[in-house]
């Protein structure tokens, strides 16, 4: 005898209890602390802050712990929390030219004022599992040197002096906020960059990679990649001037792209731009490539129909929280829709059978 499915509430509670137990794992193993996650899983924390659009390493560490290391789930937790925060105001644009760089490299010039600074990078490490890490050892110490004192001007500015690179025109417009108004297409560059910087790292990487492989060819060099801390300043109306309210670590990438000119533009180099919270190099470079690819119209280039040239396609599908939610919703009950399909298919089959064999 069929019993109507009752007890959904109890099932949900039991599932949540089990989840909590699984999250903790074997109680004989010491529990992870937020400090451990923040300090030793830093790049995961950075990704969660970048795609969660909230710069708070402690909350990101908490989200990662709660999500059992599922970073998209952690990003979701941070986003949902972010929704509840008031928007107090807008900072003045951060000056990445004044960044205290931990890392700063250019692929276009052998040496540049400010120097090539490798910083803490995986580049040139041989990807051999380090079995020594499996045992607890002494904390490694890097050798020390005096920090460089000279300023680190932007590499693309050198090209700009000769007019060899397309100029970015400064505007004083307050950019729109994609978390406070609905996305409308065409979105414009400010909104595009916002969507890309919080977009899924894998998706933005895939889009960027596709342009390198030939789907809408862009031919970029990393003009400059810099990672470091910048000050965030805000105008305080009561004071009448801007004060520093904190510091964030950012990754900034400017690509230099060949451009043979078009009907409207002379031959010159063009730029793609990426700016992401934290040390998030892969994402910032990917973002710069996709940004450049989406600028085809503005630069009078041809639309070759490549996916990475299609603003609506890229922006509408870059968000992993939207994507994963809609994807996973197909786990929800669909009895009603399925039932109506079932009846339609049965009726159409019956009609088709009758038509095939009118004798019966």
């Amino acid at each position: 005898m069929y019993v109507a499915v009752k007890g959904g509430e109890r099932a949900i509670e039991a599932a949540h209890d089990w989840l909590a137990e699984e999250r903790r794992g074997d109680p004989a193993v010491p529990e992870l602390t937020l400090e451990q996650i923040r300090e030793q899983m830093t790049l995961a924390v950075n990704r969660v802050m970048a795609e969660g659009s909230l710069y708070d390493p402690d909350l990101a560490a908490l989200a990662i712990k709660q999500a059992r290391g599922d970073l998209i789930e952690a990003i979701f937790l941070l986003r949902a929390y972010r929704t509840t925060l008031p928007r107090l105001g807008v900072s003045i644009p951060v000056d990445t030219g004044a960044m205290r760089c931990d890392r700063r490299v250019s692929a276009t010039f052998k040496d540049v004022p400010g120097g090539q600074v490798l910083g803490p990078t995986f580049d040139y490490t041989h990807r051999l599992l380090d079995f020594a890490l499996a045992a607890e050892g002494e904390a490694p110490r890097a050798r020390q040197a005096e920090p460089r004192q000279e300023p680190t001007p932007r590499v693309t500015e050198f090209l700009n002096k000769d007019g060899l690179i397309q100029d970015e025109v400064r505007t004083e417009d307050t950019p729109p906020d994609m978390t406070r108004q609905p996305m409308e297409y065409p979105a414009g560059r400010a909104l595009r960059l916002q969507a890309l910087t919080r977009g899924d790292e894998g998706f933005v990487l895939g889009m960027a990679y596709s342009t390198q492989r030939g789907y809408g060819r862009t031919h970029p060099f990393v003009g400059e990649l810099r990672i470091g801390a910048v000050e965030v300043e805000m105008e305080i109306p009561e004071l009448g001037f801007a004060i520093c309210i904190g510091e964030v670590t950012l990754t900034e990438c400017e690509t230099v792209n060949q451009f043979s000119g078009s009907r409207t533009e002379p031959p010159q180099f063009t730029r793609g731009y990426g700016l992401v919270f934290g040390q998030t190099e892969r994402k910032a470079i990917s973002m710069a490539l996709v940004d450049r690819s989406l600028r085809w119209q503005e630069l009078g280039e041809e639309n070759t129909g490549a996916p990475a040239q299609d603003e609506e396609f890229v922006l509408a599908h870059a968000d992993n929280i939207q994507g994963t939610g809609f994807l996973e919703h197909i786990k929800l009950p669909h009895y009603v829709d399925f039932q109506s399909e079932l009846e339609l298919v049965r009726r159409m089959r019956a009609d088709a059978m009758t038509a095939k064999d009118p004798a019966t």
């Binding site: 109507a4 297409y185 009603v336 039932q339 009846e343 009726r347």
Partner: protein, 289 residues
């Protein structure tokens, strides 16, 4: 018991005001999809975030809320959403259609006719009825503006040419007050006639950032052709529990030898009928006693 850390019904008042403005605009232009700045909710996109935001913007502390999914009050996601509003709004909840002032639904319209003063809130996955014919938002907005619905009619015609029937069984497109073609959300087409209702009907699509609405007694016509009229079909059975011959039925598999039974998808409707003494073919002994 309200969670004091959050505002009544979770969203802050500014956000609710923004959503209410979108709802009012939607009611003023029935069937038109109003863009709104959908917020990130503490439940996943695609799981009713649009409906939840619309419900949050409509609820007052005196409201009585009913939440259904697939017609049932006790499916897991309905339970989850009902608990969310109990926790963040402290509102009274019910499973009785007549007693509810706000009903949030996924995929069904309750069997019991709604009355004036009630609000039915739909969860909408894809608000754009033309989306699977034209993927670009920039294009579909133009098509709506120009009332350019030829593509939809061609699709329905091709269905008939290929299959002998319109092969859309749910989310069956409708025309609202002779103007906008609207997606009624994935309700079975059986429910389409009840889109003409005395209640206010609000549609929320969170991920797609759209709200649209049907004011009471709005004219809603399911698209069809003169020689292929719209047919709101359902399973050719009566409910095996309450005997109703007019309600929408779920098919339940009983064993692995093809045994099945049909039961009302609207659990409140079915339970109410059984309480009044109606019986179906497979009602248990205790029920009959």
């Amino acid at each position: 018991m309200t969670d004091a850390a959050y505002n009544f019904a979770y969203l802050d008042e500014q956000t609710k005001r923004m959503i209410r403005r979108a709802i009012l605009k939607g009611l003023a232009v029935p069937g038109y999809q109003v863009p709104f700045a959908s917020r990130e909710m503490p439940m996943p996109y695609g799981w009713g975030t649009g409906g939840v935001q619309v419900t949050a913007a409509c609820l007052t502390p005196d409201d009585v809320l009913k939440v259904i999914d697939q017609g049932a009050d006790d499916t897991t996601n309905a339970v989850s959403i009902r608990r969310f509003f109990e926790r963040t709004g402290g509102v009274a909840v019910t499973t009785r259609t007549e007693e509810a002032s706000v009903i949030q639904t996924r995929h069904r319209i309750p069997e019991t006719p709604l009355t004036e003063g009630q609000i039915l809130v739909y969860q909408v996955p894809i608000p754009e009825p033309l989306r699977f014919l034209e993927p670009r938002e920039t294009e579909t907005r133009k098509m709506h503006a120009l009332e350019e619905y030829g593509l939809m009619h061609v699709k329905l015609y091709e269905d008939i040419a290929h299959n002998g029937a319109i092969s859309t069984a749910y989310a069956y497109p409708v025309k609202v007050e002779g103007r906008y073609v609207m997606d009624p959300s994935p309700i079975p087409k059986f429910d389409n006639p009840r889109l003409e209702s005395a209640a206010i009907q609000l549609f929320g699509a969170g991920r797609e950032q759209r709200i649209y609405a049907l004011p009471p007694h709005t004219k809603v016509v399911s698209l069809d052709f003169e020689d292929h009229p719209f047919d709101p079909s359902k399973a050719d059975h009566d409910c095996d529990l309450c005997g109703s011959g007019s309600s929408y039925l779920d098919e339940v598999i009983m064993d692995d030898e093809g045994g099945r039974m049909f039961v009302c998808s609207d659990t409140d409707y079915c339970a109410t009928r059984r309480a009044r003494g109606f019986r179906g073919a497979l009602s248990s002994e205790e029920d009959a006693a």
